[in-house]
């Protein structure tokens, strides 16, 4: 029995080694480099050898382990189950703790510029995730072009702020409305398409918007991007060390020393508030008839029709509301960066946001937070390794789907209970 197992595993790992050699041999082992304008091949056999050995040995141990597991089934995955059970049950406590933590976060001793930047970036993704969660998680519409609305929000914010000099709090709702309108415009013709067709059409729309931004030079300055987007001010008080003559600034008004961190902390709270509004809105609207209809549509569109629910309008609201929050997040992005270009709105951004939503668990608000921390954290950890970090990111997407296809938080809470009313 034991000998048989070893023999089988050895055979299998040999096969794995051969496949690995075929996979990595040419692409990794024969690196093409330009020498004097001519491509030559530079062999890297040692790396290939290491990878192949790693794959084969890894496969061998996985085999031994899984075969053993089959012998003592039952106790095997109890640890994984315990974790998922804990996550499913304690979702709301985790949420409250997380909100409390995020409020005091800027005053933590370790919260320097680096950590604050990461926190702001994560919070932006959390907000985008929550916005897209309405579209994908609740309404079940796989939107692969969400970044388009992010871009529309950012560009409309930037254009209004630059050309009309309007303040953040005026431009923000306008940008959101613009993005929402775009959502309706794009959604109107395509929302009756089936799941993956919808996915590919939204992807195409996302790319079309980007190409438009790249080529409509008069309006968007094309690849050069828009510069000089006004920074947000604290109710009219700018964050500047040397303000213009006669203008009161944030630090003079409150009698503080000037510190560039003040602006960063303000931006952090700004995105925190925007994100929490998104969250509160989603939690609330999920319990309204339209939210219930979104989820019902995700479950069974035909049944919805038989009950008189208008699928097109219902989907359109989900699309528009999701787009609007994308637009809000885009405005924030524009004002934070003070510079935007089409480069920030590529397909990979859409893919990251979709991954955040799906890996978090469809429709789970807390799940979005957990998967953002995990995925963006992963990208951040591998920051210095350029393309390796995206390999890790993509790999994580595959692994989480394979081992937990319903996402990190899979359990859904009903939007209304009999206990409450009856």
């Amino acid at each position: 029995m034991g000998k048989d197992l070893i023999q089988k595993s050895l055979k299998d790992s040999l096969f794995t080694g051969i496949i690995a050699l075929a996979l990595f041999g040419p692409i990794v082992g024969l690196r093409t480099v330009a020498k004097n304008e001519v491509l030559v091949v530079e062999p890297k056999w040692l790396v290939v050898l290491l990878i192949v050995i790693f794959c084969a040995v890894g496969r061998f141990f996985i085999n031994i382990y899984t075969f053993k597991k089959e012998q003592r089934r039952g106790e095997a995955s109890s640890f994984g189950k315990a974790i998922s059970h804990f996550l499913d049950e304690k979702g709301s406590q985790i949420a409250i703790g997380a909100i409390a933590f995020s409020i005091i976060f800027p005053f933590m001793p370790f919260a320097d510029r680096y950590w604050m930047d990461i926190a702001i970036m994560m919070m932006t993704y959390i907000m985008l995730g929550w916005g897209l969660n309405i579209v994908i998680g609740l309404a079940g519409l796989l939107d692969l072009g969400y970044v388009a609305f992010y871009a529309v929000g950012a560009y409309s914010y930037a254009l209004f702020a630059i050309h009309f000099g309007w303040s953040f709090w005026i431009c923000l709702p306008i940008a959101g409305l613009f993005a929402g309108m775009f959502g309706i415009l794009l959604g109107f013709p395509v929302l009756r398409l089936r799941g993956d067709y919808l996915a590919i059409v939204t992807l195409a729309f996302g790319e079309m918007i980007r190409i438009l931004l790249l080529n409509w030079y008069e309006l968007t300055k094309g690849p050069d991007g828009l510069t000089g987007i006004p920074r947000p001010s604290f109710f009219g008080l700018p964050f500047k060390r040397y303000p213009d003559e006669g203008v009161e600034t944030f630090h003079t008004f409150f009698g503080l020393e000037y510190d560039p961190m003040q602006r960063i902390i303000f931006l952090y709270y700004l995105i925190l508030i925007l994100a929490l509004i998104t969250n509160a809105f989603t939690i609330k609207i999920r319990r309204l008839p339209v939210g219930r209809a979104w989820e019902a549509l995700r479950e069974d569109e035909i049944a919805c029709k038989s009950l008189g629910v208008n699928p097109r309008n219902t989907k359109l609201t989900a699309f528009a509301v999701g787009a609007m929050f994308g637009g809000f997040a885009g405005s924030f992005f524009a004002t934070r960066q003070a510079f935007i270009s089409p480069e920030s709105f590529t397909f990979i951004e859409s893919a990251i946001i979709v991954a955040i939503v799906v890996l978090g668990g469809m429709g789970s608000q807390t799940g979005v937070v957990l998967s953002t921390i995990f995925l963006i954290g992963l990208i951040e950890v591998f920051r210095d390794f350029e393309s390796y970090r995206m390999i890790a990111f993509g790999g994580a997407m595959v692994l989480i789907m394979v081992f937990r296809p319903k996402g990190i938080l899979a359990k859904r809470k009903p939007t209304i209970t009999m206990g409450k009313h009856g």
Binding site: I19, A22, L23, F24, G25, P26, I27, V28, L30, R31, T32, V33, A34, V38, L39, V40, V41, I136, L142, P189, V190, L193, G195, D196, Y197, A199, I200, V201, L203, A204, F205, E207, M208, I211, L212, N215, I302, F347, I348, A351, V354, A355, V358, L359, M362, E386, S387, Y388, M390, I391, F393, G394, G395, A396, M397, V398, M401, V402, P405, K406
Partner: protein, 303 residues
Amino acid sequence: MEYFLQQLINGLTLGSVYGLIAIGYTMVYGIIGMINFAHGDIFMVGAFVALIAFILFALTSIALPIILILVLLIAMVFTACYGWTVEKLAYKPLRKSFRLAPLISALGMSIVLQNYVQAAQGARIKTLQPVIQGGFNFFKESDFVVTLSYLQIFIVLVTIVLMAVFTLLITRTALGRAQRACEQDRTMTALMGINVDRTISMTFIIGSSLASVAGVMFVMYYGVIDFYIGFLAGIKAFTAAVLGGIGSIPGAMLGGLLIGLIETFWSGYISIEYKDIAAFTTLVIVLIFFPTGFLGKPDIEKV
């Protein structure tokens, strides 16, 4: 007129490339009902394998026709391994899962492949010296000389041969029969004693090797590739598959030719900056007004 003819020739060549990629989409969609998001990147891997092979063979003194055949074979074999692996890692474990899961894992696979090739081969564009040069020139006395290069003839010929071979494979062999059976009802097919896993694997292998042939042609035709070419080519080929009617192999080829023509005519007559918009617009229009495509089966909603 001469200009038109030139665009037509270029469009048909480009269309052959798209058509070959589209077959992979259509076959996988037919058998597991899902868009293989990583397929465009498989094509890109094929182009890279071809590039490497061409560079290596350029150092030898093997005759050109033999090099071409060898490169095609090498690209097909190695790229097929990628297709097989993608299926095993990202699709097989999720076959019974809810419908978004495999889409996400395939998306993850696509990101992995792109960045893996970027890491292994570098982010800069790669240029290949022309492999086949020369061609026929027509209308030499007019202002615009129409060129039909040998390379274009080669591309179209290879495409036609492959199409014929694979059509035979699908319609005449046991494997093709098994594939068509799996499309209809996988459980029933398994009960008939057909190895469904292997059939699905074979579908990915065939689709990937066709995509790799498209990759070989792409690298020869344009002479420039980078790790990102799979994304756009993938979307265009998918459009082709839908246009022809998803699930139909002749449809994929037809759709590929149409997309190739639309793209070349658009860039030839309207705007080269917005040439990708042409493909995307076609995709959107086709999906909205014409979702069954030319040769697809009508999709009656079962209630």
